[in-house]
Symmetry: C2
Subunit: 246 residues, 2 copies
């Protein structure tokens, strides 16, 4: 970390029985993780919780107290198992009702005669929340306190994240550089540990992979917000890797 501004942090809460049963495979965590890293926000924790109000409330309250932002995905559709908005309202201790702004957005997409009670659920927004427009299918997400509530359908979630991103406080971007070791992790673990210990302001991760010839290899990923510290540590890692080949 550079001595600059305080890091901006985030957590994700994925809400949905279908993810926990394995029926649906999550495609949002990796996307949001990469997106946040790209704008200098540190994703620090992810939780996947079921469609149970108490679990959602507990996760929202635990994480919003701890991180700059909490992003939720899922549970904002028109059916009885979509309980995210009500749960977030409960977490904040605010009331929730059909929001005229959200209702107007739904009417851009839904004929008035089709705006039944189920669809009106999608306009239920906690008091005091800002809406997050949904360019795909209109039913909005929302932003209350430091919690940003988004859809679970990946295309809609991604569009909502694009709407929200310009308004986020962003940090200094973490820079990263990958050094291919051309060695097994076990052969570099010792010297790599020494480098990590003597460069406390960078983080160094080691990620094994099988190379083009099917041989065990490792990528060493050096990360830092400070370009100088990054360059110093990368030089040390490259020297270590070169020494191995001698």
């Amino acid at each position: 970390m550079s001595g600059a501004a305080e890091p901006v942090t985030a957590a994700i809460i994925v809400i949905g029985d279908e993810i926990l049963s394995g029926r649906t495979k999550d495609r949002n965590i990796g996307y949001i993780a990469e997106y946040l890293t790209g704008i200098g926000i540190d994703l620090c924790e992810v939780r996947i919780v079921p469609d149970i109000e108490g679990e959602i409330v507990a996760a929202v309250n635990a994480l919003r107290a701890r991180y700059t932002y909490v992003f939720t995905t899922g549970g904002i559709g028109p059916t009885h198992d979509d309980i995210t908005a009500d749960s977030v309202a409960k977490a904040f201790g605010v009331s929730i009702d059909v929001d005229p702004r959200a209702r107007a957005m739904l009417l851009e997409y839904i004929k008035p005669e089709d705006l039944n009670e189920a669809r009106l659920r999608m306009a239920r927004i906690p008091a005091g929340a800002e809406l997050v427009p949904n360019p795909v299918s209109k039913a909005p997400g929302f932003w209350i306190g430091n919690v940003i509530v988004m859809a679970g359908v990946p295309t809609i979630m991604q569009a909502m994240l694009d709407q929200v991103a310009p308004k986020l406080a962003t940090g200094v971007q973490v820079l990263s550089q990958t050094v291919r070791a051309n060695a097994r992790e076990g052969d570099i673990g010792g010297p790599l540990k020494a480098i990590a210990e003597s460069h406390p302001e960078v983080t160094i991760g080691s990620y094994p992979f099988l190379d083009e010839d099917g041989r065990p290899n490792s990528n060493l990923v050096v990360r830092s917000r400070d370009p100088m510290k990054l360059a110093e540590a990368v030089a040390a890692v490259e020297a270590m890797v070169a020494a191995l080949r001698r």
Copy 2:
């Protein structure tokens, strides 16, 4: 839930900065979720945490107190960022050292002259733990209390899960049946809610998708451990869907 035995529950802790930065996309959560569902174990929560001892200890202790089993993935390799075994030992308040059984397993794969300090890290096992054999690359996982520690590399994790599964207490499998609504979620939300309320012993999920003709459609998934209750609720859902078409 049927009136039978108590449900067997589980949580997953995914350990790794590379997942939180988005550099690596997790492929284990969905696999384990489906696997556990298949053997009647309810996956109730997932957390993804960074390579920070305090975070791993906190997650292990929070979840092992709450669920029948906790599965961890990642952080058991030979490099300095592999801190899962030490963190789990700390969570349980037990000592950790090179385990002779684990060392012997490593020597099936690694020449004695290559068994350096880094590789020996992979034989560090908390006192009192059982080993989980690794048929792929020998370095074992372990099982302590109700916590099962597995590798992060998907092929190795999957092989470890196969080793562990026969020893798990399994529950009555959740049965599920999917009814295709041929309707938008918003058109069925009302009647579906009524069915869900009058069948409290099943859970009914609604999952939108775009059908072959690109039209919004919904799959209604009814789940229960009790085949009779399941059949009754499915019949109600099918009657509701049929009534829509009239």
